[in-house]
């Protein structure tokens, strides 16, 4: 365990024009690619497997194992798809990474494609971030001109085409099978599994879908070795990762640190809470992960530690809320998001979020009815584990965890509007620092 920052992905974000090939190469970029291309594909897979790299998109599935699931005896083409549809409320790591150093991702893509023997790779970028799309396309063009993409890469005989695809703005397309449907030109809705993408993914061919950060981490592992990678993090959650600190923090931003760091340490690095404020609740990995409170400040932020505390590491999007924030209002906003983003395919998520929002609105207005809290919990029980994909599950997490930790605030919703208990203006970052409760 170390408590210092370990900038790897973000190391060069401050470099002048870091997104250019020139800057990337000056920082040693694409040297890992040269190493990897000389390795047998299975050796690359073994290396990533042995490194202990786990998926950074939220679920934490071992990346190398995912690659090894690709049936290499399948005659169909293999595809690599990078999930860059970052849209979870609070999550903001992939987009800065792609903005600052897109070549890190592209180098990772080429190595991963080589490992799984894919000749075509896709980066599915969230549609709203046009600037990122442009930057990725420019980087891909540069990489192609330099011979890192296209046919016979660096004389290795290996071909990889990279396609930067812009989504159309739907949270559900971050779900890997919905992403594949969307990439195929259909309306993004999750697919029935099995078959799993590793067997029948994009165009019914073996496909690996990885998060941006997972793929971008690969070059550093190839370059520095698995021992270096394993020297960071914890036993089961190895390596470094990007923690995105946001909310009522003095210095919000990306903090790249070994897995297992605590929020207390991160808050210290981020200058603590904003002046005059104290931690009320926080999400460990975006709004889909159950909220935690000040009593969880010292849990290790790795897959096991957060799981043991009853939440999930998720995307490591640490949204920090202080005592000015109404939990009810915050949960209502998140639930409105899930209602808006529910794809509509399955009943519990589509109808459940519709109902949850209206019930939460009532509580937010101070017009809650007896039994509303029990109703919310029961609705969540009827959604969680009953919906088609994890979107429905995610929609219930903030509600059940918020009621668990702040039930009295929901009870106040039976008679007092949240705006009276927690004037919204006080929560804003530009609010006078003489906030209530002090």
């Amino acid at each position: 365990m170390t408590d210092t920052l370990t900038p790897v992905l973000s190391a060069d974000w401050g470099t002048d024009r870091a997104w250019t090939l020139k800057a990337y190469k000056q920082a040693g970029g694409y040297s890992a690619l040269e190493t990897a291309l000389k390795m047998a594909p299975d050796d690359v897979i073994a290396m990533v497997k042995d490194s202990g790299l786990r998926g950074r998109g939220g679920a934490g599935f071992p990346t190398g194992m995912k690659w090894s699931f690709i049936p290499q005896d399948n005659p169909k083409p293999k595809y690599l798809v990078v999930n860059a549809d970052e849209s979870e409320p609070g999550t903001c790591k992939d987009i800065p990474l792609m903005m600052a150093t897109p070549h890190t991702l592209i180098e990772g893509v080429i190595i991963a494609a080589h490992a799984i023997r894919a000749k075509t790779a896709f980066i599915y970028v969230r549609g709203e971030v046009l600037h990122v799309v442009r930057r990725l396309r420019a980087a891909a063009r540069e990489a192609k001109e330099a011979g890192y993409l296209g046919t016979d890469i660096l004389g290795s005989g290996i071909d990889v085409e990279l396609i930067i695809h812009a989504g159309a703005g739907a949270y559900i397309c971050g779900e890997e099978t919905a992403l594949l449907d969307s990439l195929e030109g259909r309306r993004g809705q999750p697919r029935l599994r099995p078959p799993f993408p590793a067997v029948e993914g994009l165009y019914a061919s073996p496909t690996v879908v990885n998060n941006v950060e997972s793929i971008a981490s690969v070059p550093s592992i190839v370059k520095n070795g698995i021992d270096w990678f394993g020297s960071m993090g914890t036993e089961k959650s190895k390596g470094y990762t990007l923690y995105s600190l946001s909310g009522h923090v003095a210095r919000p931003g990306q903090y790249e640190a070994p897995l297992g760091i605590t929020l207390r340490e991160l808050l210290d690095l981020g200058g603590g809470m904003r002046p005059g404020s104290e931690l009320k609740f926080w999400t460990p990995g975006g709004s889909s992960t159950p909220i935690l409170t000040a009593e969880h400040l010292d849990i290790p932020l790795d897959y096991e530690g957060v799981g043991a505390a009853g939440s999930m590491l998720g995307t490591k999007a640490l949204q920090v809320f202080d005592q000015t924030t109404s939990v009810v209002r915050c949960v209502l906003r998140w639930t409105e998001f899930y209602k808006h983003e529910s794809c509509g395919k399955c009943t519990p998520c589509r109808e459940g979020t519709w109902w949850l929002v209206q019930t939460l609105q009532r509580l937010d207005e101070g017009q809650g009815k007896d039994g509303d809290i029990e109703l919310l919990l029961d609705l969540c029980e009827n959604i969680l584990g009953r919906s088609f994909c994890a979107l429905g599950d995610g929609a219930t997490s903030p509600i059940t965890s918020a009621i668990q930790h702040f039930r009295s605030e929901f009870e106040s919703g039976l008679h007092t509007p949240s705006r009276e208990l927690f004037p919204p203006a006080a929560s804003t970052l530009f609010a006078p620092q003489t906030v209530g409760g002090k």
């Binding site: 309306r187 529910s342 395919k345 009943t347 109808e351 029961d378 609705l379 029980e381």
Partner: protein
């Protein structure tokens, strides 16, 4: 408990691999691949469901069928409830449904509540109320009171998905059955789910309307009242309807249907469930086209022509029968009998016996369409009395199915759906045709491009593997040598042949002996033993041995005066190969007796008109293209509505030679008693192809009837007709250019008889060939006197004042 056969329509004889699992503490063995939801049905547990449909791919969208799986067969259970419609059984699996699992029960109850929060609960005014899976299952698996007091989602209602299909979006539970049917079964993905979340809805793309021949099935499989037909909407409540199973009469599929009627009036028709024939689907024509029987031109009393005024006047049955009998007797056996192709087998049998024993003639031919001696020989040698040699199920097991002279999507929708299903599992469909139609493309079919008339060449060149099946349409009768080449090609490939007529009664008419030289039960007229056998069975001394006249010859000899009288059983003059010649013959006939349902061109010239019952008002049976006897009872019991049998029996009695039966049941018993002929068959035809040169500046006509066209069976169904495909003339760009026709512009087809115009559409046809619909906007037979493989003149532009399609 072991169940070998799940209701999938499979009739396979291959040994079934069984898997044993436990559902609600009951051990059950089911075929491998069975879904848990259906395995549960086999132990009597009905798991509620909406999106699940046995004939559609699983989707798992509605989440109503959640069950607990405490052991997936590998010792580990699923942590969450699973959708039983998406999970296949596994050996050792332990499933707990709502019966034994409180978790499953709560999951189902919770999901039902979710489904209902945005459902309008307008059951009292909803067409589905009383037969609604949502209503029923909310009673069995839901709760009586709602906890939802907030605002429901609403939509403006209804919207037209097509002229025929209306959508009330707020009722929809988004199960995607309709969209999956359209995509997976019909191949017409013109409806799709659009928008997302609570705004998700079934939508159309305005420029591609939902003009599918099978759209009505979506209404039937809708588990709520979201889809309704313009035809039935708000017309009746299910609990006021009487449902009678019947058989569809618009094609030769023999599709099972259910006719729902109220107080003597048919309100709607639904697909019956017959896994071996039409599965659960019917065409829109079979579903919606039933009002022809009440179209206003129904003949309700016997009519006799007053010799003085020359007008038809109502008459009593005894009087009319007496006049008819007298007229027929006066013709002294010189009577031609034209029973048409729409009769039930029993009615056809009555015509056959009436012709041969009462009128003592073999001048009987059911074919009111293009026909040939070669065809008659083919039917006698290869079709008559063959039964279930090729079945719907066989189409799924063939290696290749070759279509010749047949466009299944238009001419036999049930075959089309079965072939499309077959093609999805690897059966190759090959069409010997002028162009690849949309139907062929939907079957992923292969085209053997052939100029109409050149089928013998294409058939001879065909190389097929084992287990091929030929499906030959009746159009092949227009091609000299067509059936001969078909038999030769099939024999060479050791393939089976099935003959697919368009009309429901044609196959039965063959069995009943309504061909001039083919007696009932496939007895060849020329076979003295067969004639003797028949005479004995019928209790007559002899049956006439003189070769009979076919339809064309009957008309020709009527015109020449050697046939004096005609007995006609519902024949559309414009269906005949030469309507003009037929009209001349009718004008010349001394005496015409017409047995028909509705007024027609024959009515205008008949001396006696005897009204007969439409299919809905009589019992009977159709023999479908497979040779399967499809028996049905009368749907409506109208005492004044008489079958052809009853009328012919009356005529026979009036003529002093009783038929020996008066009812359908008696006729059926006589047919069974007679049985099929087991003696020698007629040899197969060996006719060579036509080698006469084509006329100059002419094109070859390819044509057939679109499923939804101007046929009189569809009268009274404006919404159905609005979903018809546009009438266009198709030809290659080179053909259009050679005749100075603008692609997309108007073109004219003409013959000595007349002229017809169509908008054009460029399609990949052989040069010198045009395709036009046979009866959409204009009847090509009526206007031009031509049909399939005939020559016509093509020119540019439309013709003001002339028939325009």
């Amino acid at each position: 408990m072991t169940v070998d056969e799940v209701s999938t329509g499979s009739t396979g004889t291959a040994p079934v691999e069984l898997v044993t699992l436990t559902i609600d503490d009951v051990e059950v063995s089911v075929p491998k691949g069975t879904l848990v939801i259906r395995a549960a049905e086999l132990i009597g547990t009905e798991i509620p469901r909406f999106c699940d449909h046995p004939l559609l791919d699983p989707v798992g969208a509605c989440r109503q069928c959640l069950v607990e799986i405490t052991d997936a067969g590998n010792g580990r259970g699923f942590p969450k409830p699973q959708a039983s419609c998406t999970i296949e059984v596994a050996a050792g699996m332990v499933v707990k449904t709502q019966v034994t699992s409180p978790v499953a029960e709560k999951a189902q109850r919770g999901n039902m509540e979710f489904l209902l929060i945005n459902h309008p609960l307008d059951c009292p005014v909803c067409d589905k109320g009383g037969e609604c899976p949502l209503q029923n299952q909310s009673m069995t698996h839901g709760q009586g009171e709602t906890r939802f007091t907030e605002v429901k989602r609403t939509f403006p209602k209804p919207i037209k998905v097509s002229e025929q299909v209306l959508l009330d979006r707020e009722r929809c539970v988004l199960c995607a059955r309709c969209t999956r049917f359209s995509e997976q079964i019909a191949g017409d993905p013109f409806i799709a789910l659009v928008e997302r979340g609570s705004q998700q809805q079934v939508g159309i793309y305005e420029e591609e309307p939902f003009n599918s021949y099978f759209s009505g099935n979506t209404i039937q499989i809708c588990p709520v009242g979201a889809l309704t037909s313009a035809d039935y909407r708000f017309r009746a409540r299910p609990f006021d309807l009487v449902s009678t199973p019947s058989i569809a009469e618009h094609d030769s599929s023999g599709s099972a249907i259910r006719v729902d009627h109220r107080r003597g009036r048919v309100m709607r028709r639904l697909a019956g469930d017959d896994p071996e024939v039409n599965e659960e689907w019917i065409t829109d024509k079979d579903r919606f086209a039933f009002s022809y029987a009440t179209a206003g031109d129904r003949i309700t009393t016997p009519l006799v022509r007053n010799p003085e005024t020359e007008q038809l006047e109502p008459a009593s049955w005894p009087a009319a029968l007496a006049v008819a009998a007298k007229g027929l007797a006066a013709a002294e056996g010189k009577v031609g009998v034209l029973p048409g192709g729409r009769l039930t087998s029993e009615d056809a049998f009555a015509y056959s016996k009436f012709a041969r024993t009462v009128l003592r003639t073999n001048d009987i031919d059911f074919r009111a369409r293009a026909h040939s001696e070669e065809e008659a020989q083919f039917l006698a040698s290869r079709v008559a009395t063959t039964s279930l040699d090729v079945t719907f199920g066989d189409l799924e097991k063939a290696s290749t199915v070759v279509l010749v002279g047949l466009e299944p999507e238009d001419e036999n929708g049930s075959i089309f759906l079965r072939l499309r299903k077959a093609s999805r599992s690897g059966v190759k469909v090959v069409a010997i045709a002028s162009h690849a139609t949309r139907g062929l493309r939907k079957m992923n079919g292969e085209l053997v491009q052939t100029v109409p008339g050149q089928e013998p060449v294409a058939l001879a060149a065909l190389e097929l593997g084992q287990d091929a099946i030929f499906l030959a349409g009746e159009r092949l009768a227009s091609v000299p040598g067509g059936f001969s080449a078909l038999v030769a090609a099939a024999d060479k490939a050791k393939a089976r042949i099935a003959w697919v007529p368009r009309r429901a009664g044609e196959r039965g008419a063959i069995e009943a002996g309504c061909l001039p030289d083919l007696l009932p039960g496939g007895r060849p007229l020329d076979d003295v033993e067969a004639r003797t056998d028949l005479a004995a069975a019928w209790g007559v001394r002899t049956v006439p041995a003189r070769r009979g006249r076919n339809t064309t010859e009957i008309f020709e000899d009527t015109r020449l005066g050697t046939v004096h009288a005609l007995l006609i059983g519902g024949v559309e003059i414009t269906d005949l190969p030469d309507p003009a010649a037929a009209r001349r013959a009718l004008a010349k006939a001394e005496f015409i007796v017409s047995l028909e349902v509705r007024e027609s061109e024959v009515t205008e010239v008949a001396d006696v008109v005897l009204p007969v019952a439409p299919v809905v008002e009589k019992p009977g049976s159709f023999v479908n293209w497979e040779g399967r006897v499809r028996t049905f009872d009368a749907v409506l019991h109208e005492p004044n509505s008489l079958t052809d049998i009853r009328i012919l029996a009356g005529l026979a009695e009036e003529l002093g030679q009783p038929l020996g039966f008066r009812t359908v049941a008696q006729a059926r018993a006589a047919m069974v008693e007679l049985g099929p002929w087991d003696g020698a068959r007629v040899p197969v035809p060996t006719v060579g192809p036509d080698t006469t040169a084509a006329p100059k500046r002419a094109v070859v006509l390819d044509t057939w009837r679109l499923m939804i066209d101007d046929g009189r069976g569809q009268d009274g169904q404006l919404e159905l007709k609005a979903t018809a495909r546009p009438a266009v003339l198709r030809a290659s760009a080179a053909t259009l250019k050679a005749f100075d026709v603008d692609p997309g512009g108007m073109a004219t087809l003409s013959t000595d008889a007349g002229i017809v115009s169509f908008p054009t559409e460029v399609a990949e046809l052989p040069d010198g060939v045009v395709w036009a619909p046979a009866n959409s906007g204009a009847s090509l037979r009526a206007a031009l006197g031509v049909g399939y493989a005939d020559h016509v003149t093509l020119s540019s532009g439309s013709t003001d004042g002339q028939v325009t399609a």
